[in-house]
């Protein structure tokens, strides 16, 4: 039998149904005519003949049905029928349809968006080729803290010879002076060894990049520059004619040879130039050979490092060094991973709640339709047919929910990425909706729809319903009621967990934002100043003083201070080894900051003992310093630190890494003790810190801290003018204020977490409320006749109300109990993963009260309706 003709026939039946039907009609009609004629010839009258012909055929419609059945059920045709019917039914019950679709859509959308974000951050966020092979090398010295390794060109050359290393790149980045249409400005320049572009593997958008085979020969490379996309668009208006133009960086003109694409944001630099030759230690990244594991590479590098060099600062000789290699994404996203993992769990719970809602609604619908389905069965629909139709309806709801979920997922991901606090993830990370996750979520939706619709469908299609016993099918309703209770329980438990998470996040946020900082960051603006002009420590100090006095003279400025170009609190500035005679050897580590004397008054740090150094001491780089409370308590618990002398190893190096001549004294005398300032993030304990005059190390740049009486933004123009008066070529770069840095370095992340978890919890609460409402509504309508009967027999409406209310609240209470148990169980592992604990009465109590209140409200409305019904009216209508 020819498959082609078979197919053609089926398709014709499907698409040209009218023609097929009229064919059949004509055939049967002709038969009847011929038979009637034959009978007339045998002697019957025309009427009798026609009647007899019909009887002999056995029924025109039945014959037609039998003919149609020969071809088997046309699946597509029936499916189309089912779909149409499903649409009509949904339109008629808009409330239920909307509830189900929105619940599902929210669950899927949130889950997909967060899964994609986590996957993007955790799996492959970078646009570089083989990004998983690029590793960051850090090493730990005796004290144990791992810090990034810096390599000199020679060391990098040695490292390239290691068997597990494919390539080593070096880079440096700094803000360089440039002139933009005559106006001095600063530009963020990334100085890259020539193999960087080749290693990262991102081709340029326009023109070309620079490359070389050996990264030691950078001095041979002409002064060229590759622009970043962002800089190209803002400064050169995205013009293709930019190739060949020059850009001035410090004192050299660099020829622009190319532009990188938008996704390339390595170092977040504006322009990339070749790394200058030199023997200073630089930032480095390594790429492992393809089949080498990180463990193997770490072992090999460890041996290498211990043999070849020991770049510990300020101290020669060998030490027991431990090497650690982390991939790029662990380095950047590691700090977010714990939180994102929990967020993943949270949205999964949200998805569960959404699916449970869909289930509840579908089961409820099923109960309402049992009469209709009974009639259908009686008229002759097969069980399979009814099942198919019910499943089609669930599928339509599930698909619609899936589509809504897709839209929500895309929108939500944009919001999440926008909310991720700046500085938390590198800007060159690439996060987009993962299509696989989308498909997965869609499949989950479909499965949820099927599962939700299946049990009532099975129960209903199976039940032996006769028209008389129709609407009193106890089996169906009891089973469905049990399912409803179970679903409500699940929803309540999940909501409790989410509320607990939100509460914990909010509490941590509050704790964080109200924690004592030790300084006052309000209204302190920060400016970056790279010195243009002065040379040598004396000249630089004098120049800096002039800048300072110019800044103070600006109206609205209360005080001005200078610090070395290091991070401001609450981030740790710089570490140094210290030798405290009589107390410790040279293996203690403290944090050091170079500041001007006004620093303490500008950021309002109290003096505990002694004094701050004077103006003169500041200017002539006196070897004095102050320490913070923590340091005083740690090293002189019973004595007096004032007057003691300590040796700071960091003073033996200049800022550019070159070593000072050994004649330079590393000793300083402690003249005062000041209050603790948060210097290791907002939650870790304060580290011991030493402050020395900034003039002790010859600086190429400083940070200007300006406390203003009003908003810091208003004084910028005037300040720039005053600085220009001192030196017209001196650019002043506005940086984020101290308050902004506080946000970026701690509060922002917690706020991100708190807002996301709160959103999840709120959504969960809303969905759960819908679920509870639906369950009680359904139960009430089921027992409507029973209530009416009881009320007619004398029960007060209050009793009815109480009955419904208590039974529903018991389920909710049970759900809350399960949820709380879950929270207690999850508390320990989650606390290990992030820093907040779920089981906390302060945050749990209001959440539980909120849930109970919402539950009461959701249950009360349908219960009230039951209690206020007119019993006579209900009993009379034969429902």
């Amino acid at each position: 039998m020819n498959i082609l003709t078979w197919l053609k026939r089926r398709l014709r039946r499907l698409f040209r149904r009218d023609a097929v039907e009229s064919d059949l009609s004509d055939e049967i009609c002709l038969h009847l005519d011929l038979e009637a004629e034959d009978l007339v010839r045998q002697g019957l009258t025309r009427e009798a003949a026609r009647r007899e012909a019909r009887m002999r055929l056995g029924g025109v419609d039945k014959t037609k049905e039998d003919c149609r059945d020969v071809y088997g059920p046309v699946w597509l045709g029936q499916l189309w029928q089912d779909l149409r019917y499903a649409f009509v039914t949904l339109m008629r019950n808009r409330g239920y349809a909307t509830g189900a679709i929105v619940s599902l859509g929210l669950g899927i959308g949130a889950a997909t968006a967060v899964f994609s974000a986590v996957e993007g951050l955790v799996l492959n966020p970078y646009p570089y080729s083989d990004a998983h092979r690029i590793v960051v090398m850090s090493q730990a010295d005796g004290a144990g803290a791992f810090r990034r390794t810096f390599l000199t060109s020679a060391q990098a050359g040695l490292l390239t010879q290691a068997a597990s290393i494919d390539a080593v790149i070096l880079w440096d980045d700094s803000w360089m002076w440039t002139k933009n249409e005559g106006v001095p400005d600063m530009i963020h320049a990334g100085k890259l060894s020539p193999n960087v572009f080749q290693l990262l593997g991102v081709p340029p958008l326009v023109g070309r990049t620079f490359a070389g085979d050996s990264w030691t020969s950078t001095s041979d490379l002409a002064p060229v520059a590759v622009l970043s996309y962002h800089y190209w668009r803002t400064r050169y208006a995205g013009s293709a004619k930019v190739i060949g133009q020059t850009v001035q960086l410090a004192d050299r003109q660099h020829t622009i040879i190319g532009v990188m694409p938008e996704r390339f944001r390595f170092l977040d630099a504006d322009v990339y130039i070749p790394l200058s030759s030199g023997n200073d230690p630089r930032w480095t990244l390594l790429r492992l050979r393809p089949s080498v594991s990180r463990a193997a590479a770490t072992a090999e590098l460890q041996a290498f490092v211990q043999q070849e060099f020991d770049p510990a600062e300020g101290r020669g000789g060998r030490r027991d060094v431990r090497v650690s290699l982390t991939t790029l994404r662990d380095d950047e996203a590691g700090n977010l991973r714990g939180m994102l993992g929990i967020l993943l769990g949270a949205v999964t719970l949200l998805l569960v709640i959404g699916c449970a809602n869909v289930s509840i609604l579908l089961v409820g619908r099923g109960i309402h339709r049992r009469y209709e389905l009974a009639v259908r069965r009686a008229v002759g629909a097969s069980q399979g047919r009814i099942l198919r139709q019910l499943l089609t309806e669930s599928l339509v709801v599930a698909m619609a929910g899936g589509v809504v979920g897709v839209v929500i997922a895309y929108a939500l991901l944009v919001v999440i990425i926008a909310l991720i606090p700046p500085g938390v993830i590198a800007r060159d990370m690439d996060i987009a909706i993962d299509v696989r996750v989308l498909v997965f979520a869609f499949i989950v939706a479909v499965l949820a729809g099927i599962a939700a619709g299946l049990s009532p469908a099975l129960a209903l299609s199976r039940s032996m319903l006769s028209a008389g016993a129709g609407h009193r099918s106890q089996v169906v309703t009891r089973g469905s009621a049990r399912t409803h209770r179970l679903l409500m329980l699940v929803q309540c438990s999940a909501t409790v967990v989410l509320l607990a998470a939100a509460g914990a996040a909010l509490r941590t946020l509050v704790v964080l934002t109200t924690a004592p900082l030790g300084y006052d960051p309000q209204n302190v603006a920060v400016f970056g100043l790279t010195f243009q002009g002065p040379d040598g420590p004396q000249e630089t100090a004098a120049y800096a003083e002039r800048i300072k006095s110019a800044a103070v003279s600006v109206p609205g400025v209360e005080s001005v201070a200078l610090t070395g170009p290091a991070p401001t609190p609450p981030v740790e500035p710089r570490r140094s080894l210290i030798e405290i005679p009589g107390v410790s050897d040279d293996d203690q580590e403290v944090v050091t900051a170079e500041v001007s004397r006004e620093y303490f008054s500008t950021i309002r740090v109290p003096i505990r003992a002694g004094r701050i150094w004077t103006d003169t001491e500041d200017r002539r780089a006196a070897h004095v310093g102050v320490i913070n409370d923590t340091m005083a308590r740690r090293y002189w618990p019973n004595g007096n630190p004032i007057g003691q002398r300590v040796r700071l190893a960091v003073l033996g190096n200049n800022w550019d890494g070159s070593t000072k001549s050994p004649a330079n004294d590393q000793w300083i005398e402690i003249v005062g003790v000041i209050g603790d300032v948060r210097n290791d993030g907002l939650r870790k304990p304060v580290l011991p810190e030493v402050y020395v005059p900034y003039s002790l190390r010859s600086l190429g740049a400083v940070l200007l801290l300006v406390r203003t009486s009003g908003a810091p933004g208003r004084i910028i123009d005037e300040l720039k003018r005053k600085v220009a008066e001192v030196n017209a070529q001196q650019p002043l770069m506005a940086s984020s204020s101290l308050e902004e840095r506080l946000w970026e370095n701690g509060w922002a992340r917690q706020q991100f977490a708190a807002s996301l978890f709160s959103a999840c919890a709120a959504l969960a609460l809303a969905l759960a409320a819908v679920g509870m409402y639906s369950v009680v509504t359904c139960a009430v309508s089921l027992h409507m006749r029973e209530f009416a009967l009881r009320m007619a027999l004398g029960a007060s409406s209050a009793r009815i109300l109480r009955g419904i209310f208590t039974s529903a609240m018991m389920t909710i209470a049970l759900g809350m109990g399960c949820g709380l148990t879950l929270v207690a169980v999850l508390d320990r592992p989650i606390a290990a993963w992030t820093e907040s604990s779920l089981w906390n009465p302060v945050s749990l109590t209001p959440s539980m009260i909120a849930l109970a209140a919402v539950g009461c409200f959701a249950v009360l409305i349908p219960a009230w309706r039951a209690a206020t019904l007119d019993p006579m009216r209900i009993l009379r209508t034969d429902e």
Partner: protein
Amino acid sequence: MTKPTADLLQGSLDLLILKALTLGPLHGWGVSKRIRQMSREVLEVNQGSLYPALHRLEDRGYVTSEWKTSEEGRSAKFYRLTRLGRKQFADEQERWKLFAAAVGHTLRAG
């Protein structure tokens, strides 16, 4: 003699239809008439099962159908045996002969 019931005819209906068509294309009513004629007025096909059977045979490829004008000038759907149908008829005929012989043997036996 009472006419054989429809059940008995059901299994052999296909065979009879195929036989009727071996002599030339016919429309549905024509098939019924021809079977009556060939069986000397003994076999009266249940008309309700005739058309489903014809459609079934067409679905399996043993016959094809075509709308043509009959001798009386009416347009009717004529069924025609295909080559596959002829082969099927031969097979069915063989099977029927075997069946009939077996029944005969059984009835004649001790």
